[in-house]
């Protein structure tokens, strides 16, 4: 049990470090409209948590992470959320930012120019960042689990 994957120290440290990696990933996704990052880099950071586990636990351990169906559904849900947000602006034009500068959530109007950064502004964009982040995390995790679990039996 302890000779596939890496040593016991690496496995424990990887298990501990998953939590800060996930938190950092969500931070990058949620602040995408204020600081560098956004949907795709945040999703990639989330997927590195899965990659860390795959490397630490080896091919046999990765084969035991039987979560591909759930991750596939999460990916579809993320994509559908993105498409639904784009379609909701259809009364005006497709992809219209219908939440910006209005009174609804995420609709705070801010002046142009350098500012200290307001989280609840920019309309549809933080929601689309969230959708893209979830989707990228799910897709990259499926790729990592399939490739790392390939193993020497050539299956």
């Amino acid at each position: 049990m302890s000779d596939d994957g890496m040593s016991v120290i690496v496995k424990n440290v990887a298990a501990v470090l998953v939590v800060p990696a996930l938190i950092f990933g969500f931070y990058v996704i949620l602040h995408g409209h204020l600081t560098p990052g956004g949907g795709f880099p945040g999703g990639a950071v989330l997927a590195t948590a899965v990659a860390m586990l795959a490397v630490a636990f080896g091919a046999a351990g990765t084969k035991r992470m039987k979560r591909k169906d759930m991750l596939s559904s999460v990916e579809s849900l993320g994509l559908l959320m993105f498409a639904a947000l784009a379609f909701m602006g259809l009364q005006v034009t497709f992809f219209n930012n219908f939440l910006a500068n209005s009174g609804m959530p995420f609709g705070m109007a801010i002046p142009f120019g350098p500012n200290p950064g307001y989280m609840l502004s920019a309309g549809v964009m933080p929601l689309m960042n969230l959708a893209v982040g979830i989707e990228v995390f799910a897709a990259l995790s499926v790729i990592i689990i399939v490739m790392a679990g390939h193993g020497e039996d050539g299956k």
Partner: protein, 517 residues
């Protein structure tokens, strides 16, 4: 607003968004069972077809349709004097190509309902087919250079995945070659887009077309774009991937790949006529296109003659027929600055080339689908192992004869109509090229006689005679294509006046494209 008004007001964006959203939903719908997934895929293809036909009728009656994504009104392209945001610009040529793409993709879906029914993983297959349709329609309706790169890569990735989907070693090898060539080509397009952006601070095609002066960097960008799109449509000497990928993909996927290559051909025409239409080098560019076309015709058909695999043979013929289209439109490009010559034969050459695009999509699609039907029943691709199928598969034999006579250019099928236009007009330009074109036609007929004799003629083989006719969904799709081929051949003027002439005018009229934004 009612649903119909919503669709006709937002048709360009919906034509891309509906297949994409449907593709995203396919894995979730597939959890409800195979029939739900098939019904969902068929329904979304039919809705896409309807939206594209609505868009086509709008464009053909009212002129160029412009759609800005995310603005306050769809036609508000330039609020401060220069275009911002992603703009979809649909003129007659774009609408023509979009209608071909949507129709052939729908027929491929109908055919796949039965052809693929025994395989697993079908939700991924239909999702990728929908993404491929969205990529094709997006590539032909977009109005800026960077979106062309994005949709080109979308098309390449989805079709590469479809080629290798039912993986033996050979299909993975073919898909690897296809992806390597396509991604290098797309990176060259991105490099050229970066160069043009650095010079003129704009990515919109209309804005670039009005601002272009022909500096050295523009010349490099033109060469990169021309080479990349020639690689995408399979012109010689960049044709190596065509035989492998068309030969190894499942038959309905190959029919869709033919239309994908023609979308690359559209992009080649768009950058030659519209983006670089006002530079002093159009005659040289036209001669380059004519040279590529002639070499493609000849090399394609001579490499097709010794093939033993039925789909590889048809793939080399696809290369050869692409040469006809490049020849016809290239003659039009070469005389673009010469109004007398254009009115005499250039316009007819362009119309012949564009009519050949739709004819080729129809008869090449039909031929690949009949090859798929034969492989479905017989189980092998090797011509030496088939024989006597005319006795047991009468409908497929008739469809194959229609397709083969059409590709060889015999009346009354549509191949004859477009090839006659090309021969007549190219003869007035340069008689040698016309003679080469007719020679290639004869060699095409020769190779299809060989295929017909090996596969369908001959005594009834007892082992193969147990195979009956193909299921209903498959011959319905083939039948629709065959009926269209015969109708286009008997009444070519209807098609030419309604669709082809506005498309050719849209390509020549660069000022109309710039004025739309």
């Amino acid at each position: 607003m009612s649903v119909m008004e919503l669709i006709s007001a937002n048709a360009p964006a919906l034509a891309i968004a509906v297949p994409l959203a449907a593709a995203f939903a396919v894995p979730l719908v597939a959890r409800a069972g195979g029939k739900a997934r098939n019904a969902w895929a068929l329904l979304s293809f039919l809705v896409t077809e309807f939206i594209v036909l609505t868009l086509g009728m709008q464009v053909l009656s009212a002129g160029t349709v412009v759609y800005t994504l995310g603005a306050s009104v769809p036609s508000l392209t330039s609020p401060d004097g220069f275009p911002i945001r992603i703009i979809l610009q649909v003129d007659a040529m774009s609408a023509f190509m979009a209608m071909i793409s949507a129709t052939i993709a729908t027929l491929v879906c109908i055919y796949s309902l039965k052809f693929m029914s025994k395989r697993t993983g079908l939700e991924k297959y239909y999702a990728l087919l929908l993404v491929m349709a969205a990529g094709m329609i997006g590539l032909v309706t977009t109005g800026d250079l960077f979106s062309m790169f994005v949709f080109l890569e979308l098309l390449s990735v989805s079709s590469g995945a479809l080629i290798a989907m039912y993986a033996k070693g050979e299909s993975a090898e073919a898909a690897f070659k296809y992806m390597a060539v396509s991604s290098v080509g797309a990176l060259m397009v991105l490099f050229a887009a970066g160069m043009l952006y650095a010079q003129y601070n704009a990515l919109n095609l209309a804005q670039l077309a009005s601002a272009i002066q022909f500096t050295t960097i523009d010349k490099i960008a033109l060469v990169l774009l021309f080479a990349a799109f020639a690689m995408k449509c399979g012109a010689v000497p960049l044709h190596m991937w065509v035989s492998d990928s068309y030969g190894e993909a499942p038959a309905p996927v190959t029919a869709a790949l033919v239309v994908a290559s023609q979308a690359g051909l559209y992009s080649l025409f768009r950058i030659s006529f519209t983006l670089f239409g006002a530079v002093p080098a159009t005659e040289l560019l036209g001669w380059a296109m004519i040279a590529l076309g002639t070499v493609s015709m000849f090399v394609g058909v001579t490499m097709a003659l010794p093939q033993k695999d039925i789909k590889r043979l048809m793939a080399y013929h696809a290369v050869s027929q692409t040469g006809y289209m490049l020849l016809g439109v290239g003659v039009g490009l070469a005389v673009l600055t010469n109004p007398a010559a254009m009115a005499a034969f250039g316009f007819d050459a362009m119309r012949g080339g564009l009519f050949h695009v739709v004819n080729h999509a129809l008869y090449k699609g039909l031929l690949f689908l009949t090859a798929g039907a034969v492989i479905y029943r017989v189980g092998t691709k090797d011509l030496n192992k088939m024989g006597g199928l005319a006795h047991s598969m009468p409908l497929t034999t008739i469809f194959f004869i229609i397709g083969a006579l059409s590709i060889a250019g015999l009346p009354p099928f549509n191949g004859f109509a477009s090839k006659l236009m090309i021969y007549e007009s190219v003869f007035l330009f340069s008689p040698v090229l016309s003679v080469i074109a007719m020679l290639v036609s004869i060699l095409t007929l020769a190779s299809f006689v060989k295929v017909f004799h090996s596969a369908f003629m001959g005594p009834k083989d007892e082992k193969l005679a147990k195979a009956g006719e193909v299921p209903a969904a498959m011959w319905i799709a083939m039948g629709i294509m065959a009926v269209a081929i015969v109708l286009f051949g008997l009444f070519p003027d209807v098609v030419i006046d309604a669709v082809i002439t506005p498309a050719a005018n849209a390509l020549i009229g660069q000022a109309a494209y710039i004025g739309g934004v």
